[in-house]
């Protein structure tokens, strides 16, 4: 209770003063996370918040030079809580969408689980390179994908000479991959990683780099902020850019995901 009064008071002061002194106003920020979305954010057996989002938040605040307190908040109430000033930011893998942008603001995206091709070990697919689609990279191949997904749209829009099989579920596409009826499948790397590491996925692995062009896969997850806190948004964006530049983001990324690049753009 005390904290948020303090934070609100600080915020109010921050808004009252001009932007140049605003960063000084944010010396204490309360950040909410969900705590139920491993490995990004979860509560460990000692009841402590853990995960990529938690480590990221700590690193971000350190870089920004502000003191942070992380609180757990159920997903349903996470935006209302922000608007009610129970905390100042949401770092909980919240995807940036137009719908949410109507009520809150977002920082630049800080994380996304990119798309990746999975196929037999030893295969190599280069369908997306240097921010561009490699035309004809999948010619003559049979690629499986779950229907009604952004991944299906991506394949259909860019690879007209590829036989694209649309499955009702990703599980069925993986079933056909092991049966050899498709050469590879495209999906969310987080989903596929689990399968590749399971017994069912023995002999199969990531056969492309991970990629996440905005036009097809959306912006990714951002830090949720109140619309009026533009100074905090600027502060976080600057700290995020610094983390990406000095390699501390990459270190965090590697700690949780060896093979997935969470910030591919």
């Amino acid at each position: 209770m005390k904290n948020w009064i303090k934070a609100a008071a600080v915020a109010a002061v921050g808004i009252a003063f001009s932007a140049s002194v605003a960063s000084a106003a944010w010396d204490k920020v309360v950040v909410a996370t969900e705590g139920a979305y491993p490995p990004f954010n979860f509560v460990d057996k000692d009841g402590k918040l853990q995960g990529f989002d938690v480590d990221f938040t700590n690193e971000l605040c350190k870089t920004a030079g502000v003191e942070c307190e992380i609180v757990a908040q159920d997903w349903d109430g996470i935006i209302p809580g922000l608007l009610a000033k129970k905390y100042d930011a949401i770092i909980a893998q919240m995807s940036i969408t137009d719908e949410r942008k109507r009520s809150i603001d977002f920082s630049n995206y800080y994380c996304t689980t990119p798309a990746v091709f999975v196929g037999k070990d030893g295969m190599k697919i280069e369908a997306y390179k240097d921010g561009k689609v490699v035309e004809g990279a999948l010619d003559g191949m049979v690629i499986g994908v779950q229907r009604s997904t952004t991944h299906a749209n991506f394949l259909e829009d860019n690879f007209p000479n590829t036989e694209i099989r649309m499955y009702d579920t990703q599980d069925n596409a993986l079933l056909d991959l092991t049966a050899g009826r498709i050469d590879a499948t495209l999906a969310d790397s987080g989903v596929l990683l689990e399968w590749v590491n399971s017994d069912a996925g023995k002999g199969y692995g990531f056969v492309s780099d991970t990629f996440a062009p905005v036009e097809w896969f959306g912006e990714g997850a951002g830090i949720g902020l109140r619309k009026e806190d533009q100074d905090l948004k600027e502060l976080f964006n600057k700290a995020l850019a610094e983390m990406l530049a000095n390699g501390s983001y990459e270190k965090l990324n590697k700690k949780y995901f060896e093979t997935i690049n969470l910030h591919p753009r």
Binding site: A152, N153, R165, M166, A179, R181
Partner: protein
């Protein structure tokens, strides 16, 4: 609503057209081969020998007693998986066909249609007036000739309305093919929904195409029915034509 419908048709008619072709292909092949397969099944089913009856009975019972989607999954994922595990098959020339969902789909639809049509045919054969069969025998026709000249023509007359019904049923059954990656008409509509978030417009478009197919089918089958019944004397025609004053 109306503008969205025009938009869907304008932008995605190519998908719907491809879907339509696949739907018709599945329908025609399933009905043609299913009906061919149904003939021996139906004949065996009417046999007085219990052992001869048992095989078609089991087959029909199995395919009529389980949901088509379960059969499709059993065939595509179950049989397909078994086939893919055969040593060396993935390197042989047959693999390009065996990995294709098309053949599994087609086979399922053919077997399913055969089961239903065989049962319809059995009813038809049983309802051929026994007098006609006896007459054929009395004329010295062999069983094969009796089937060809008496029983089958009669059977088709009897079963035609039910058969028409089954063809329409099969048309709608083909919509399940999209669950095993075959993008027929319903699959195409689903794909459009995924793109445009316009479910009503996409499914209404597909629905109208189905209605048109059914209309054409009904029309065509009605014509065939008339042809099949060409020798039947209608009640109205039975009035004796009295010709007065004409001497033989």
């Amino acid at each position: 609503m109306f503008e969205d419908l025009i938009y869907v048709l304008g932008k995605y008619h190519g998908w719907l057209y491809d879907g339509l072709l696949l739907t018709l292909q599945l329908l025609v092949i399933a009905v043609a081969f299913g009906s061919l397969l149904a003939i021996p099944l139906a004949i065996a089913r009417t046999s007085k020998n219990l052992w001869v009856q048992a095989v078609p009975f089991g087959f029909i019972y199995l395919f009529r007693g389980t949901p088509l989607i379960a059969q499709l999954f059993m065939m595509y994922y179950g049989v397909g998986q078994l086939v893919s595990n055969i040593d060396g098959i993935q390197d042989s020339w047959t693999w390009q066909y065996l990995r294709d969902p098309y053949w599994y789909c087609l086979l399922t639809f053919i077997l399913n249609t055969a089961a239903y049509v065989a049962e319809i045919m059995r009813g038809g054969i049983n309802n051929v007036p026994s007098g006609e069969v006896e007459a054929a025998r009395a004329c010295g026709m062999t069983p094969a000739t009796t089937y060809r000249r008496i029983i089958f023509p009669r059977m088709w007359q009897i079963i035609w309305p039910a058969y028409t019904n089954d063809v329409i049923f099969t048309l709608k059954a083909t919509s399940l093919a999209s669950t095993v990656t075959m993008m027929e008409l319903t699959g195409a509509a689903r794909k459009i929904v995924a793109r445009t978030a316009l479910p009503y417009e996409a499914f209404i478009s597909a629905g109208i195409i189905y209605l048109i197919i059914v209309y054409v089918l009904t029309f065509g089958f009605k014509g065939i029915e008339k042809y099949l019944r060409r020798n039947e004397v209608r009640e109205a025609d039975k009035k004796p034509t009295v010709k007065i004053g004409v001497q033989a």
